[in-house]
Symmetry: C2
Subunit: 214 residues, 2 copies
């Protein structure tokens, strides 16, 4: 069921009535299975995450596997544009696929040397960043703008700013041409991972020399 929903959604935007027509069923029949449109969207978000699984233990060190999870998470969201827009502004999803990925991600974070409180906050920070990226990219894709068109659009917007008022921005306009969405996403992902690695390393060092804290 939810699989059919995700499929229906993959083609553009989405409404209860359109889904009913797509499934050749009375739109009201959907309310038998889901209390709300929100409940249905929640199920769809979880279904969208069924497409990818946590990388196996031999896929690299914990950092590399976290990186792969982040990349896979974003890819799964972008594959379902109608869902991606909503996941950025929805309450936490507690579906089986989401929970499995959360568990795997938190496990990897503790392997980095993070404590319980740090691990769960680090997970949340990663998800916020990834959904923020997905939310920002979605309107560009759904408007049918190609990545290169988009880069040129941003470049010319920044290049045409008055250089006196915005010296940095106007000078940096050309930078948009060199970086694609993937590279931009991974830049921020790596920032977060770098900082988490460093934090784990510090924790371990403090554990090994507990008398040295002052």
């Amino acid at each position: 069921m939810a699989a059919a929903l995700a499929l229906a959604n993959a083609s553009g935007d989405f409404s209860m009535r359109a889904l009913g027509q797509r499934l050749r069923v009375d739109p009201m029949a959907i309310y038998r299975h889901f209390r709300d449109k929100d409940a249905l969207l929640e199920a769809m978000v979880d279904a969208a995450l069924a497409d990818f699984e946590a990388p196996p233990a031999d896929a690299g060190d914990p950092v590399e596997r976290l990186r792969q999870m982040g990349i896979g998470f974003r890819r799964a969201l972008m594959a379902h544009p109608g869902v991606a827009l909503r996941v950025a502004t929805t309450r936490p999803v507690l579906g089986p696929h989401t929970l499995a990925l959360t568990e795997a991600c938190v496990a990897l974070l503790t392997e980095l040397g993070l404590g319980q409180g740090e691990a769960i906050q680090a997970y949340s920070a990663l998800v916020r960043y990834i959904t923020g990226v997905a939310g920002a990219e979605q309107p560009v894709h759904s408007a049918g703008t190609s990545e290169t068109d988009w880069q040129e659009e941003m470049r010319s917007a920044y290049a045409s700013l008055p250089a006196g008022q915005y010296p940095h921005l106007s000078r940096m306009a050309d930078e948009f041409l060199h970086r694609g969405f993937d590279e931009q996403f991974e830049f921020g992902l790596d920032l977060l991972l770098d900082a988490l690695v460093e934090r784990g390393r510090r924790n371990r060092a403090a554990d090994l020399t507990p008398g040295d804290l002052g």
Copy 2:
């Protein structure tokens, strides 16, 4: 004009027709000033950012000022819930307030020692993270859930998971009680800033010893 719009929006949700009623004007009159609802929302996002300005040069070192900008950005978004939800999924806003803050932020990032390409990507990463957080918090606030109720809700959801299947998550349930939205937000913000500081430091070191790169 846009100020009145932001005000109207501050009270819950928002529609063209409701705005017309609020302004005691024909709803269609709005289309004289804005081509679209999207164009209007864009103007509202920019107007929401008029509330805060970049911290002055004597407010601390670049990192501290970047931190204050991040905190202020989030606060401005949360003060306009109807806008906050949309900013997470809208195309980049090129209004005067947004651009002024972007310029100030990018200037501070270059002060950290980042190159042009790094600075603009770092800015984007920070914005994605902040809008991701705003998008995640907005539904909680607009549902009228208090922060402590929300924490308890999350705790019990995680605590009731089968410990065999989700060992980390079920063990970490209590962590939700100790961290508020502010602390959670600043945790992720500091991760990004820590990594950016480190990157700037490495750039400077490489500049000082150009022969040492291998």
